[in-house]
C-alpha cells in the first residue's frame, strides 16, 4: 500500500532534519556527552555491585555492557556464517 512519495515534514534542502549530516553529527556529540554523564554520575551514587568482584569496579556496567554486545555480535557473525541460508531455503 505504498503511497506516492510526499514529504510533509521536509526542510528547504529536501529532507527531514533528522537525516541531515550536520544534525546526525550533533546527535552523536549529544549522545557521547550523555554517555559520559552516566559514567560520571557513578562517582556520586557509588557502585551497585554486590559480589565484591569486578562488578564493583568503577564504570563496570558501561564496560561490561559494551563488551557483552561486542561478543554477542561476533558470536552471531560466526554462527551466521555457518547457519545462514537464502530466505527461500525452505520454500524449494
Amino acid at each position: 500500500m505504498a503511497q506516492t512519495p510526499k514529504k510533509p515534514e521536509t526542510a528547504p534542502d529536501g529532507d527531514h532534519w533528522l537525516v541531515r549530516p550536520e544534525n546526525i553529527r550533533k546527535i552523536w556529540i549529544g549522545s557521547i556527552i550523555a554517555l559520559a554523564i552516566t559514567v560520571a554520575v557513578e562517582l556520586f551514587t557509588g557502585t551497585a555491585g554486590h559480589f565484591h568482584g569486578v562488578d564493583e569496579w568503577f564504570a563496570f556496567p558501561a564496560v561490561f555492557g559494551f563488551l557483552s554486545c561486542v561478543v554477542m555480535v561476533f558470536v552471531a557473525k560466526v554462527l551466521g556464517n555457518i547457519l545462514k541460508r537464502k530466505d527461500d531455503y525452505y520454500d524449494l
Binding site: H16, E42, L83
Partner: protein
Amino acid sequence: MIFETFPPALILLFAAFMAVISRPNARAVIVLVAPLITLWAIWSLPDGVLITTRFLDYEIQPLEVSPVRRMFATVFAIMAFTGALYSFRTAKTAELGAAFAYASGAIGVCFAGDLITLFIWWEMMAIFSTIVVWCGGTEASRRAGIRYAMMHLLSGVLLKIGIEGVYVHTGSLEIEAMLATDLDRWLILIGILINAAAPPFSSWLPDAYPETSPTGAVFLSAFTTKTAVLALILLFPGEKVLVWVGLYMVFYGIIYALLENDARRILAYSIINQVGFMVCAVGIGTELALNGAALHAFAHIIYKALLLMSAGVVLYRTGQRKCTDLGGLFRTMPVTCICGIIGALAISSFPLTSGYTTKTMISVAAEQEHLVFVWYMLAAASAGVFLHAGIKFPWFVFFQKDSGLRPKDAPWNMAAAMIFFAFLCIALGIYADPLYAMLPNSTIVPVYKPEKVVFYLQLLLFSGLAFFLLLNYMKRTLTITLDLDWIWRVAIFRLGNLAYDACSAVRTAAEKTILSFLKTGREGLDDLSERDGLILRATSATGLGALYIMVLLTLYILVYYLD
C-alpha cells in the same frame, strides 16, 4: 455477586462464539465488552478452590483462585481487550473468534485447580491458536500452522502421559509444587517447556508467528508462552534445570534476532529471550524470583504486544516486514514509531518503563542467592536485549535508510490500542505499586535506588554505543538462519531418502544374487530332467513358480513340525 463462582474463561468462550455468528457492528461491541466483563468476573472471585465436581471417575476442580493465577488472568483479559481494539476493524471474523477462544483457554489454564482441567484448556489453546496462525491466509501460514499444530499437539501428548503417570503413581491430580524427579514429572515439565518455546523446540515460535496476519501475531505473542510460565510457577518452582534452560533461551533469542532480517521474526525471537528470563527466575525459585517471573510476564505481555502492534501497522500499511525493504518510516508514521520506541525501551527495561520495575527483581533474586555466574549472564543478556530488540527493531524499521515508503500512520483503533499499551508501559514503570499489590507475597525490592538506575543506564546506553559502532556488522541480508527444526524439516527427509536409496541398492543386489543362484539351481534341474525325464521339466516361468511354491511348502511343513 453472580460471578463469585463463575469460571471467567467461559465468558470469553461464549463471546468467541457470539462474535463469529453476529453482524460486524454487534461483533465489535461483543469483542470490546466481553474482556471487560471477564476482568470484572476475575476480580469478583475470592481465593481458594471454588468449584469441585466429578469428571469421568475423577474429582476435578475447574475453578481455583490464588493471587498469581488472578494476576495472569488479569493481564490476559487486558490483552484480549486491547487486542480486540487493535484488530476488530481489519481482522477476519474467524481470526477474532479463534483469538477469543484461545484467550479463554489461557484464562482457563490460569484457574485450573487440577491437572485434567489444565490439560483440557491447554488443548483448547493449541487448537484455536493454530486457527489464528492459519488466518494469516497465505500458503506460508498454512504450512507454518501445520508445523505449529504438530508441536503443540506433541506438547499436549507429553503433558497427558505425564499427568496420567502422576495419577497412577500418586493418586493425586492436584496442581502443586513438584520437582522433575521421575519420568512422569519430566514429561509434564517437557510438555510445558515446549509451549514455553524452550530448546530444542524453540523454533516453532519464530516459524509461526511472523506468518500470521498483522493482527494475529499480537494475540499469539501473549498467551501460549505465558501460560507455560504460569504453569512452571505453579508446578516447578525451584527446579534447577530451569535456570540453565532459561539462560539458553535468553542468549538463543539474542543471537538469532541479531541475524534476522524479518522485523516480526526479530520480535518473535525476543519473546523467547524474554520468556528465558522468566524461566530462569522460576528455576531460581525464591519468593522474590517467582514474584519477578510473574511481574515480568505481566509487563512483557504488554510491551511485546505493543511492539508487535507497531510492526503489525507497518505490515498492514506497507505489506513489508523485512528490514531490507523497510526504513525511514518515522517521517509519516510518528504514532507507530513513537509507540514502537516506547515498547522497545520497555523490553530493554530502561528506567521509567515497566520492564525496569519488573525484570530488575529477577537479577536481584540471582544476586541474593549468590548465583554469581547467573547474575553476570543476566546482566550481559540485559545489554543484549537492548541490542537485538531495543535498538535494532526501531532502527531498521523506522530509521536506517530512506526506503522511499511513505505509508499513512495507524488507523484510529490501532493507534488507540498502541497508545493505551504505551501508556501502561510508562505508567507501570513510574508507579508499579498496583502491580506489586497483585503479587502472592510482599517480597519485593525497591528498584529505584540511584546506583541501580545508574547501573542500568550505563549498561544499556553503552550497548547502544556498541550497536552503532558495529552497525557495519549488522547489515541485513536476505537470509534466514537454520535452527534445530532443520532436523525434522530437512535432515529427516534426507536421511529417509538415503535409507531408501540404501535399501534399493541392497534389494537390487539381493535380487541379482538370488536370481543368479536360482538360475544355477534351475540349470542343474534342467540337466536332471533331461537326463532322467522326470516331472522336473521346469522350463517355463509357471514351472519355476511351482518350484518356488513347492520349496516354500516344504519349509512350512518343516517349521510346523519342528515347532
